[in-house]
């Protein structure tokens, strides 16, 4: 170091008082996650704008019947319960209880997975009844009925429905993988790999999830890179940050559920 100006009162790295007080006294990763969520809310905001734009300028059909609503209500209950178990996981992490952190995280993942599976079955059922977009694989028997008519007459209805819910489902899937990596580190990777391959071979090729399951493969790749770069264990802060993401995804569903499901139903 050739310059003397630095010497005046300079402090060593990491010493208390070396930095200005951070925003809200928050842990940096927490600030980062809040900022990501701000950005992500605009990503969803744009999709909701596209949905509203179409809904305003189109005679919007209301084809969903009671079975769909019942199923979506159970899905909503799953997500709400998962937020509760997530909170429990954060509490357990903050008191240093590793076993229960892991258990509560696992419970959250189970609820999240249940949501995805229920949603997948719902999609499959709707596509089977004719609510579809041209790019999806065609089911074996051509469907007829109200949903098939909607797809034909108002293609914006299935397009916004599948677009919005697919984006949300992708976020829930990323969330489950995120929690899996936080809870189980590298041991989660083989589970993910097995799910990916099993999904690909077990889901028939006329089902859209036969292709959608590759999101797990992509998740596996990203998770492996992150674990390679950051092999150390995660702490309570990381669990809390993961919780922020999880609650956000939950919150987004609280917009999608009434907009896409409840407002597309006839009350007879």
């Amino acid at each position: 170091m050739s310059n003397a100006t630095l010497e005046h009162g300079a402090v060593e790295h990491g010493m208390p008082g070396a930095y200005e007080a951070p925003l809200f006294g928050a842990y940096s990763k927490k600030v980062g996650m809040w900022l990501f969520l701000a950005s992500d809310s605009l990503t969803f905001g744009a999709l909701l704008f596209a949905f509203s734009y179409n809904r305003i300028y189109t005679a919007w059909p209301t084809p969903f019947h009671a079975a769909s609503i019942a199923n979506a209500t159970i899905m909503t209950a799953c997500l709400l319960s998962s937020s509760l178990t997530m909170v429990m996981a954060v509490f357990a992490a903050q008191r240093g209880d590793r076993a229960w952190t892991r258990n509560w995280l696992l419970a959250t993942m189970v609820f999240g997975t249940a949501f995805i599976v229920l949603h997948g079955m719902e999609w499959t059922k709707l596509i089977g009844e004719g609510l579809t977009i041209p790019g999806f694989p065609k089911p074996a028997s051509a469907a007829a009925g109200e949903l098939a008519d909607v797809s034909k007459n108002v293609p914006q209805f299935p397009a916004t429905f599948f677009g919005l819910t697919a984006m949300h489902m992708l976020h829930v899937t990323i969330g489950v993988i995120y929690l899996g990596v936080v809870a189980f580190r590298k041991w989660f990777l083989p589970v993910l790999g097995v799910l990916w391959i099993a999904g690909y071979f077990l889901i028939p090729s006329d089902n859209v999830f036969h292709y959608g399951v590759h999101a797990l493969g992509l998740g596996l790749l990203v998770a492996a890179i992150i674990l390679f770069l950051k092999p150390k264990d995660y702490d309570a802060h990381d669990v809390e940050v993961a919780g922020l993401y999880w609650h956000f995804v939950d919150l987004v569903w609280m917009f999608i559920f009434p907009l896409v499901y409840l407002m597309s139903t006839r009350i007879s």
């Binding site: 170091m1 050739s2 310059n3 100006t5 630095l6 005046h8 009162g9 300079a10 402090v11 060593e12 790295h13 990491g14 010493m15 008082g17 070396a18 930095y19 200005e20 951070p22 925003l23 928050a26 842990y27 940096s28 990763k29 600030v31 980062g32 900022l35 990501f36 701000a38 950005s39 992500d40 809310s41 605009l42 990503t43 969803f44 905001g45 744009a46 999709l47 704008f49 596209a50 734009y53 179409n54 300028y57 189109t58 977009i133 041209p134 790019g135 999806f136 108002v154 293609p155 914006q156 299935p158 397009a159 677009g163 984006m167 890179i225 992150i226 770069l229 950051k230």
Partner: protein, 576 residues
Amino acid sequence: MATPASVHAHAPQGFIRKYIFSLDHKVIGIQYFFLALTAVFVGMFLSLLMRIHLIWPTASLPLVGTIQPETYLSLLTMHGTIMVFFVLTTAPQGGFGNYFLPIQIGAPDMAFPVLNMLSFWTTFVGFVVIICAFFVTGGAPLHGWTGYAPLSALPSAGPGEQLGADLWITSIAIFCIASLLGALNFLTTTLDMRAKGMTMMRMPLTCWSWFITAILGLLAFGVLLSAGILLLMDRNLGTSFYVPLVVVNGQVMGHKGGSPLLWQHLFWFFGHPEVYIAILPGMGVTSQILSTFSRKPIFGYRAMVYAMLSIGFFGFMVWGHHMFMSGMSPYSAFAFSILTMCIGVPSAIKTFNWLGTMYKGRIRFSTPMLYAIGFVSLFVSGGLSGPFLAQPVLDIQLHDTYFVVGHFHLIMGVAAIFGIFAATYYWFPKMFGRMMNETWGKLHFFLTLAGTYAIFMPMHYLGMAGQTRRYSQFTEVAYQTKLLPLQTFMTYAAFITIAAQLIFVINLFWSMFKGPKASDNPWESTTLEWTTSTPPPHDNFGGVTPVVHHGPYEYGVPGAAKDYVMQTDPATSTAH
């Protein structure tokens, strides 16, 4: 405070961890810089082909052959996209922001070094994907950098609209992800990692500009990501978000009921903030350089900060002024017009503050200073046509003419590039440890300034005369041939300007290896990057964190020993 101190105690060894997959923000900054340098030459080459085609449409060129009209559209699409995304967004923010934001606020690195590395490599993948669009069947897309639907949404709409357009959208989506991850890293770093004494209002204006740019990037790129995903769905899954019932070549497409306006709303909600993403860092570096080389404090530091904040704020409320001719309601056009003209106020505040900074200063006309003055010049001459275009009535005449092309090239293209040049000449000594050649730098400046004015000023006249943009040939159209001499003049000016850029490149690489060694503070600047050694050590300040006692621009302080007071000098000499 999560200081990554332990991580940074030791610099990584080995070529790959040190130079390729480096976590050091300085190496990543230089990687961004060279990515942008590569991209700017690709983009410039494309513009050269366009200029040649405009006046010699049938000429057979070496390597590329005769340019077809649809190839002209591909060239302009790729020129615009590469320049806007991979140059104007990448160099000032990713390049210089990455390198100097942590140093200027006294941090050892960005808040998330791993994320920083991933942002760069994601951007790189995006660049590779968009370059691939040239080489696939059908070639590069035709839809312009704005990607207006339904042209961009129908693979059968033209030769480049097949796989090339898919690659284009994919590249943009990848770039969006990289940019928003980068933006949140910048914001967290600025909020959480400022050294003791570096309050927000003591940050150099460069840091403020990167900070505000990051806010814009964080909010704008998320929207473009969604818009791009919906466009991909329209193209590949047969949905109809953007496509109404259309007939292409006598064939009814399977789409129905979509709205091309939806794309325009979503795109310009991103697209207008993107203009400020390109120009704000240039404003920051211009402020820094004008103050340093005028040996005067910046005129109205707080006004500068608030002006940038309000430009960023208004930037999100004016996207509709790109859509006056789209059939949007005239009432909303009125609102967008008023809001757009509001941006003139903070812009004027900035301009007058720059002039006030130079007024009665002891100006040192070094190359960075010349480029900063050039930035102000271009900012004024490009900006003044803005209020014209903001009037819906005038826009009916001027929309989609060369007037618009001249306007945005001067203010968003060349002014931002001048900001990049100013930053390059100013920070080169710190980044590479050597000085750039001043004589060649000044020659480069005068040729570039004269050349860019010669290219883009005549475009205003062409536009007022009604010459439309995006037309590939004017030579065969009777009423257009009268304007051809002006087009020819612009093409020759482009030859000279592009040749002048070779001076820059030679100067850059020659100085990198052979230039005279730079001292720690060659420009006698006051900010933190000039307190550390040249080039800075791995953790920026050699194991310590500086303590800041002063604002960033204390030049010509009465009673001080020198004519400048470093930010780290002890707090005795001034009351600030």
